[in-house]
């Protein structure tokens, strides 16, 4: 029997949620018995090579590349999960939403105190994805099936969720794993 496939990605996030995935420690050996990773920073597979059962998405969308990766995940995964607060509601990167995009560019490339940019030009290299007008939560771009809160969600939360999903059992997270005050 082939193992179910799991893909992961970090969009406008800090990779903290991926660190939390790795925090499952030796359970990762058990996990590898349960699943195969497909497209993921863990495997360094860049393009989907097979349809996946689960896609774990860290971070919201701040640029056009994020949008394409996320839409690609939607097309290739049966179940999409927002992992962490940035994916769910934009998180820290979304703090720029109160500032105009023009001001963001000016601060980053022209006026910032540590900026050295004699030409004063805003970079327009095609390698740099264009920023979106604001940072969007994943659910504003594609339909997300589940949301896993936390900054980051703890390793136990991620583990319990994955196991419940893969074994088709109801998920019952103890209060300690989902309280944040």
């Amino acid at each position: 029997m082939t193992k179910p496939k799991v893909a992961t990605t970090s969009l406008a996030g800090c990779f903290g949620c991926h660190m939390s995935i790795l925090d499952i420690d030796d359970r990762i050996l058990k996990l590898v018995e349960l699943i195969d990773f497909n497209k993921s920073p863990v495997t360094d597979i860049k393009k989907f090579s097979e349809r996946c059962l689960v896609g774990l998405v860290e971070g919201g969308c701040c640029n056009e590349e994020n949008v394409h990766v996320l839409q690609d995940f939607r097309k290739n995964c049966d179940v999409l999960i927002s992992v962490g607060d940035c994916a769910i509601m934009g998180g820290i990167p979304a703090m720029r939403n109160g500032i105009s995009l023009k001001e963001c560019f000016q601060e980053a490339y022209q006026d910032g105190v540590t900026v050295y940019n004699p030409s004063g030009k805003i970079p327009s290299d095609k390698e740099l994805p264009l920023l979106l007008d604001k940072v969007y939560p994943c659910s504003a771009i594609v339909k997300m099936d589940y949301h896993m809160p936390g900054c980051p969600p703890s390793a136990d939360t991620i583990w319990e969720t994955l196991v419940a999903l893969l074994t088709n059992k109801p998920l019952d997270l103890p209060y300690e794993l989902i309280k944040y005050d």
Binding site: E64, K75, F105, L130, L132, A140, V142
Partner: protein, 605 residues
């Protein structure tokens, strides 16, 4: 600092005994004399009354009619609620913009005119309507708007237009307004003959406790909409500990589509004041305050004159009607454009000279209200009903209306009907009966209870209007064939987004999210999941908000979802690929393309 400015402000503050609780009056007067309340003025006020400058600023920035910047000499506030838009407010707005060469929200360069939109100003029976400074103009047309604009440009006011006065006391020299009463059906209560003093005489013949017993026996419930038993409220207030107690009259009639208090204040103010005086006697209060919405400023001189006449007649003041130790007087507190101040604890905050923030409950106003003292806040119409109960007796009142809702009720009917206006009818009248009276048998929907009420569909027109079925403070808006009910719900959500005081998150953020999702659906970018989302979010707002505004603000969406679901369902379609139709990459990168100066390399959708 400008010495003259300081002197003027000192004088104004002294007029109110440098009492920070009279902040509303102080800033209103400062604005009237200087066109706005500048930072310099705020500093001077703060120094004079002994509060921090930020406290003055918090008041000025809270109310729609107050401003830190100088507005034009003439401020035109055009009502842009749904009813007024149905009757051409948009065309009137265009005319004003063209005539003055500015957009709404702007002031002309010469400082002559500011154009602003305002929510319901209590004139839905004569739309479109606007406030020109404190003056109300109704039944506006584009032609009329041009004439108004020309007069303002030539003379700086609209006096030369000689606008005809309305009926009844609207023509009283102290009112002098073109507002019409549109009093379509009088019952034998509020607009029946009344001899000032008749109710008070009967009240003081009894003990205060007997008086409250009578009000309880009449089964009178609050006329503002929530329907709390009036006698019980008075009993609590009377029983609460406090050396002083207060009677507050809620005349902040701001619920869209309500204008019955306007007609009471114009034609039956004696009855209302008498009811307040009875309340003072019953609960043991010596002072009463009428909190009058800023939009009804045009009635203040008239109302103050009525109060003076009552003092002269011994119906207010010391030893009223010769009753030793029965002292009671009333003052009018002006609001300044804030819907939330109709909520009783926000109203108290405003009377105390603060932002109109609701307060935590408990303690309830009956225990700790105005200035921390036991306070009874009742609606204009409730006080009128009390006076009639005292005059005619509790049984007379109790046998009217329906089982759970005694008495007659005033309804303000507006929208697509032949005879919009005020109707005094018994509780228990069905929607259908009301529609027949107003000439609107072809209605496709009726909004009962204002923006926070229920959108009723034709198959529910047999329901009775009363506290147990369709509750209302009086607002009934009728919509005929062809009206877009999703646009209606959207306009109410816009209203709540604007009027939320911003204190609690469910109301401040939730209403915005709800409105945005509704916009997706109206634009044809919604999915069936959005309907479930709106229901869930709406119920969260309802159950977790701090005051009545948030607890009812989701109703426009929730009740249309319930009663007109097919309208929503015809607009949404499932997303086959799991992508959200409301998101457009083209739109999202457009600004970036402009700033960076290159096109997106990704395909355009």
């Amino acid at each position: 600092m400008n010495e003259n400015l300081e002197a003027v402000i000192r004088e104004i503050c002294q007029k109110y005994a440098n009492d920070s609780a009279r902040m509303m009056d102080i800033v209103r007067d400062v604005q009237a004399s200087m066109g706005g309340v500048s930072k310099v003025a705020m500093k001077a006020i703060a120094a004079a009354v002994g509060v921090a400058q930020v406290e003055v600023e918090s008041v000025v920035s809270f109310y729609a009619h107050l401003s830190s910047e100088s507005k034009g000499k003439v401020v035109i506030r055009l009502c842009n609620d749904f009813i007024d838009r149905m009757f051409g407010a948009n065309r009137v707005a265009e005319t004003f913009e063209k005539e003055f060469g500015i957009k709404f929200g702007e002031t002309t360069d010469d400082g002559l005119v500011s154009l602003e939109y305002t929510p319901c100003i209590g004139m839905c029976d004569q739309p479109p309507a606007a406030l020109i400074n404190d003056r109300i103009v109704t039944w506006l047309s584009t032609d009329m708007a041009s004439r108004i604009a020309k007069a303002i440009k030539e003379e700086g006011n609209i006096d030369k237009l000689n606008l005809p006065n309305g009926d009844g006391n609207n023509s009283h020299p102290l009112v002098n307004s073109m507002v019409h009463n549109n009093l379509r059906e009088k019952g034998d209560m509020i607009f029946a003959n009344f001899v000032p003093g008749a109710a008070l005489k009967n009240a003081i013949a009894e003990t205060p406790v007997e008086c409250i017993k009578n009000v309880k026996a009449s089964r009178l419930r609050g006329r503002g909409g929530a329907g709390f038993p009036t006698g019980m409220k008075w009993e609590f207030t009377r029983g609460a500990d406090g050396d002083e107690k207060y009677v507050l009259c809620n005349a902040d009639e701001g619920e869209p589509g309500t204008f019955k208090d306007r007609v009471i204040l114009t034609e039956a103010p004696e009855l209302m004041f008498e009811g307040m005086t009875v309340a003072g006697y019953a609960i043991g209060a010596q002072s009463g305050v009428v909190y009058l919405r800023g939009e009804y400023q045009y009635l203040t001189d008239f109302l103050n004159d009525v109060l003076q006449k009552r003092r002269d007649a011994g119906l207010l003041g010391k030893n009223i009607l010769g009753k030793e130790g029965f002292n009671f007087d009333i003052r009018i507190q002006m609001g300044a454009g804030a819907y939330i101040c109709g909520e009783e604890t926000a109203l108290i905050s405003s009377c105390e000279g603060l932002r109109g923030d609701p307060k935590n409950r408990p303690p309830f106003p009956a225990q700790k209200g105005y200035l921390g003292k036991p306070t009874s806040v009742n609606n204009v119409e409730t006080f009128c009903a009390v006076a009639k109960i005292m005059e005619k007796g509790a049984p007379w009142f109790a046998q009217k209306g329906s089982t759970g809702s005694a008495g007659l009720k005033l309804f303000s009917v507006s929208g697509d009907c032949k005879k919009p206006g005020v109707y005094e009818l018994p509780f228990g009248t069905t929607v259908k009966e009301l529609l027949q009276k107003v000439g609107a048998e072809d209605a496709i929907a009726v909004q009962v209870g204002g923006a926070c009420g229920i959108t009723v569909a034709p198959n529910d027109f047999d329901k009775e209007i009363c506290y147990d079925h369709l509750a209302t403070g009086g607002s009934v808006m009728v919509f005929g064939p062809g009206r877009d009910l999703l646009e209606l719900a959207h306009s109410f959500m816009e209203f709540f987004e604007e009027e939320s005081c911003g204190y609690c998150t469910p109301c401040r953020v939730g209403n915005t999210l709800l409105k945005r999702r509704l916009e997706y659906i109206i634009e044809g970018k919604g999915t069936p999941e959005d309907l479930i989302y709106m229901e869930t979010l709406g119920n969260t707002i309802k159950h977790t908000s701090r005051c009545g505004l948030g607890q009812t603000s989701a109703n426009p969406v929730l009740t249309t979802l319930q009663n007109f679901r097919s309208l929503y369902e015809s607009k949404v379609k499932p997303s086959v690929d799991g992508l959200q139709p409301s998101f457009s990459l083209d739109k999202a990168v457009g600004l970036s393309e402009e700033i960076v100066g290159r096109k997106s390399i990704h395909h355009h959708d």
